[in-house]
């Protein structure tokens, strides 16, 4: 029997009961969320289980939702089952004032640089990461560029004509 979204959902609910929630299938990819304290438990379960076998971390990123107070930063894991070719998306929400999430580097080595990038751009602090420092931006930068409140443009330019940019 092939691994269907229904079967994955059933196994997750059996194991975690109410902790996994918000199941949806945008474009056919099963998506669910869990509380941030249980993120390693869920990832380990998806990895170790012999029927589920989600052993490849495709992507680890964050999204900033400034209007959802208490749940502003979402850390999104994309996992892939290479043997049955099934993908799954797992989200963990955290408050922007205490953005601590447990690191997945113990389980997936690929999560190392992806978590550094997520820290660099969103400020998510991965607890237990071996080397959490900025990876793509300048080391002295003191803000997190991909958060919605920070401007895209470089603020050091003094020769821009505001009229042309709709700000005059």
């Amino acid at each position: 029997m092939s691994l269907t979204n229904e079967r994955i959902k059933q196994r997750l609910i059996e194991k975690f009961r109410e902790q996994v929630a918000a199941f949806s299938e945008p474009y056919g990819m099963l998506t669910f969320e869990a509380p941030k304290e249980t993120n390693l438990k869920v990832l380990n379960f998806l990895f170790d289980d012999d029927e589920l076998k989600f052993r490849f971390l495709t992507d680890l990123q964050a999204v900033h939702y400034p209007n959802d107070k208490g749940r502003e930063l979402a850390v999104v894991y994309h996992l892939h089952n290479l043997i049955d070719n099934v993908r799954i998306r797992f989200k963990v929400f955290t408050d922007i004032n205490t953005p601590d999430v447990y690191t997945a580097t113990g389980l997936f080595s690929g999560a190392n640089w992806m978590e550094r990038e997520t820290y660099d751009f969103f400020g998510v602090n991965f607890v237990g990461h071996p080397n959490l420092k900025r990876i793509l931006n300048v080391d002295e930068m003191d803000y997190f560029p991909m958060r919605k409140e920070f401007p895209l443009e470089d603020q050091t330019r003094i020769d821009k004509d505001d009229e042309m940019f709709g700000r005059g």
């Binding site: 793509l136 300048v138 930068m141 560029p145 895209l152 470089d154 050091t156 330019r157 821009k160």
Partner: protein, 194 residues
């Protein structure tokens, strides 16, 4: 059927097989030629520039085309491109320089020996280009002094050749004592280079 030729239809005869750089002004006689040292040194330097292609992105591809046989930069004496700053005269910065790359460009510039020139090829090296963002350095003249800017996104190989020709003009007319003078020292001080 092949396309009819639309350019170069008025054939111009080749005047000479080999073209040689012009002689500087001077006084010549039987077995001697007297001229200014400036002119001779300038002539030698400008027709044998060794460029360092610091090619980062798309402008680097245009540079590759410029060095190819169709638009040949080697005609102008830049036959030998070096990738070691210790051996090169001209730092050609081609492409987007991120803020993280800024100190690297400065380090490469510092390793070059005098006399050295810098050409900023393309919009991104001259002023940040279309990337007006937190991560892109808005022009390399924030970290190194630049002699010639070549605009374009990317500039055509002819434009890059034009930039190199202007560098050649600068080199040909440069005073031999320029690098020791106060004005040059002040310029380097303003960039924080000793």
């Amino acid at each position: 059927m092949s396309r009819p030729v639309s350019y170069n239809v008025n054939k111009k005869d080749l005047e000479k097989d080999i073209s040689i750089a012009g002689m500087p002004d001077g006084h010549q006689g039987e077995g001697f030629f007297a001229t200014k040292l400036n002119d001779v040194v300038g002539l030698a330097r400008k027709n044998s520039i060794w460029p360092l292609p610091f090619a980062t992105s798309c402008c680097g591809i245009e540079f590759m085309a410029t060095m190819g046989s169709h638009y040949d930069l080697a005609r102008f004496g830049s036959e030998r491109v070096g990738f070691s700053p210790r051996q090169c005269d001209l730092l050609m910065v081609m492409g987007t320089i991120a803020k993280k790359m800024g100190p690297v460009v400065k380090q490469v510039y510092l390793q070059m020996a005098e006399p050295r020139w810098v050409i900023a090829v393309g919009a991104c090296a001259s002023s940040g280009g279309i990337f007006d963002t937190y991560s892109v350095l808005q022009g390399i003249d924030q970290v190194v002094p630049v002699d010639v800017y070549v605009p374009g996104c990317p500039p055509r190989p002819e434009a890059i050749i034009d930039g190199v020709m202007r560098i050649q003009d600068l080199i040909g007319k440069e005073s031999l004592r320029r690098r020791n003078g106060d004005r040059y020292k002040q310029l380097l001080e303003s960039y924080g280079i000793q």
